[in-house]
Symmetry: D3
């Protein structure tokens, strides 16, 4: 995540600690890119644990737990893309569709590898999603 993105997010948190955003099609109005990012952190951590272990059973567990977590990353990202973002946001985030396509595809790729570099790429894409979210939130 770029320093600018971090600052934007931080500024937003400091300035409006009580604002909420929506993720349930009521819509309740609560959306937060942190949901996808937390699962992406788990995906990367599973990869690192896999690489650092010699225990076959532990490594197998890390693979299927990573599979579940990567599914959650995809789910949370899809919800943001379809439910939070509106046509009027495309002017501010022209790459919106491509960004979400690449981020969700990256989560799929993360299932197929145990290379933490892919986990980091997934985190970076989640951070770009967070920046797009911050840029469009009114």
């Amino acid at each position: 995540m770029s320093l600018l993105s971090r600052l934007l997010i931080l500024a937003d948190r400091v300035a409006a600690p009580g604002t909420v955003h929506a993720h349930c099609d009521l819509p309740c109005g609560v959306y937060d890119p942190a949901q996808a990012r937390i699962e992406a952190q788990s995906v990367k951590a599973c990869m690192e644990k896999f690489q650092g272990s010699d225990d076959e059973v532990f490594k197998q567990r890390s693979v299927f737990i990573k599979e579940e977590r990567a599914d959650l990353v995809k789910h949370h990202l899809w919800v943001l893309w379809t439910d939070y973002f509106k046509p009027e946001h495309l002017a501010k985030v022209p790459e919106l569709h491509d960004l979400f396509w690449r981020a969700t595809k990256k989560a799929g790729e993360a299932k197929k590898t145990n290379d933490p570099a892919v986990g980091q790429q997934l985190l970076d894409l989640c951070d770009r999603v967070a920046a797009a979210f911050a840029a469009t939130k009114s």
Copy 2:
């Protein structure tokens, strides 16, 4: 669904009854737009049942069953968008991202109304997705 789309899909079924397509990130290679369409049919049917009933409990059940089914429509569409479609398909289906965005947003809209016309619009979008699928399947 246009007659052409129907014929394309039918022709495909007749010509290659054994081919399979993928939907599980193995990837197993099995994808089928019928999964989203079946749930969309259920969404529209729930709306019609809602409109045709005077029983309050039945109507409430139709609302929350529709909610679940619309979620499944979104899920199956998201999987096709992220997992089946590849960058090289964009040449054949330039509207790919916009089509899926509108289709999944329509599924969200279908949760908020009991107007069968919205259910039909969702089915029509699922048919366009099916046509895009048929156009890109090798």
Copy 3:
């Protein structure tokens, strides 16, 4: 699937492309044996991918993804058996209970092996279910 079954299903699709059938206990009236078959295709594809790979992690993933897909086969078959089929259908499909028992047991067996022949047997049973469905749909 016998040629006759295929033709019956095909004929049905051509003749009544808009009819829907039910799968949600509303009942919405939408049932389709394609749901179980698509997952069964995935089960068989996972077995073939398993057999064709030397990558231990990939093989493990194919095993647990197959497990999930076989669960979905069972679920969709159970729903058809309990929710779609009615006592009056037994006259047309006397083997109904035995067919579904064997088909769902076969899905369980498919979890325990990576032999694609078992995957094919599961597909064949799904095709017989589809034929029973086609024979009873009014």
Copy 4:
């Protein structure tokens, strides 16, 4: 299934009497009809709570919670039918298929009504399932 396949499976069963009951397709060997019955108790209790209340929101909640619980009844019953019961049990429980068909259909019926009498019928059928289980457990 070919005759050869049947014989192979039968031979396997004869040779390995370590029968199992399990409910997870490992199979782990753990089955218990109490799982379905507890959910059926919940279904009936939701009906009674519905009847005893004048609060519209509470009544709506009882309806959709009952829907979920009835789904669990069906799931647990289906697992027993497909996974625990074996062909050799049919001699002891000739009505096996019909019993499970009626019990799971009753769970579906319980979604559509708030009449506690239907909840009681569901419990009675769960008790008959439990008796069939007890009669076949070695």
Copy 5:
């Protein structure tokens, strides 16, 4: 489980065979510690199956099926802790929080090992939970 606990539970069953208890936040009034115990039996059985097998694929399946079952143990225990137990029960079961904390942590530990002794410890804790339940049920 201590002899006393067993007797308490048995006495309870004999004296009040029809009483029900609640687990769905309606609340429907149906709670039963058997739900957690059945899954814990499955966890231990998976460990034993793992130890008794030389088949790599079977052992992998036992590991991830155990993971799912241990999750269910945790879920059912958490529901009892939060939903069934009330502040007034603390007088009768002073160790309530610690018991549930250790039982749910043990279920987590059971995911990380295939030692049946840990499965047995989990069962023993489920039995202590059952005794606490029996001691507080009115």
Copy 6:
């Protein structure tokens, strides 16, 4: 949330933006109280939407969507309590068990009412959980 708690959390975010925490029993090492809080925001928002609407169907949807979100609050809190917190943390957070018991019970209470004040109480308890988390994270 007290000003101090807010500052502690904020300070933590500024000082260690890359640290991660665990929530999957691998354990992957990623835990974050934000998961429960986001769902709790949704619970409160559903209550407010319910109060502000005259549309019966919308109000019903807000009730069952709230039910699901409150379930997620409970789940995320239970995971923190059982998986993140360790015996050595009790010295720093003596009220740990009571805090989580009250917070998860409050989530259950939030299902039974549409009073936003209860939603706010749930948020306040989530904030106290976040403060306990911040106080124990090394």
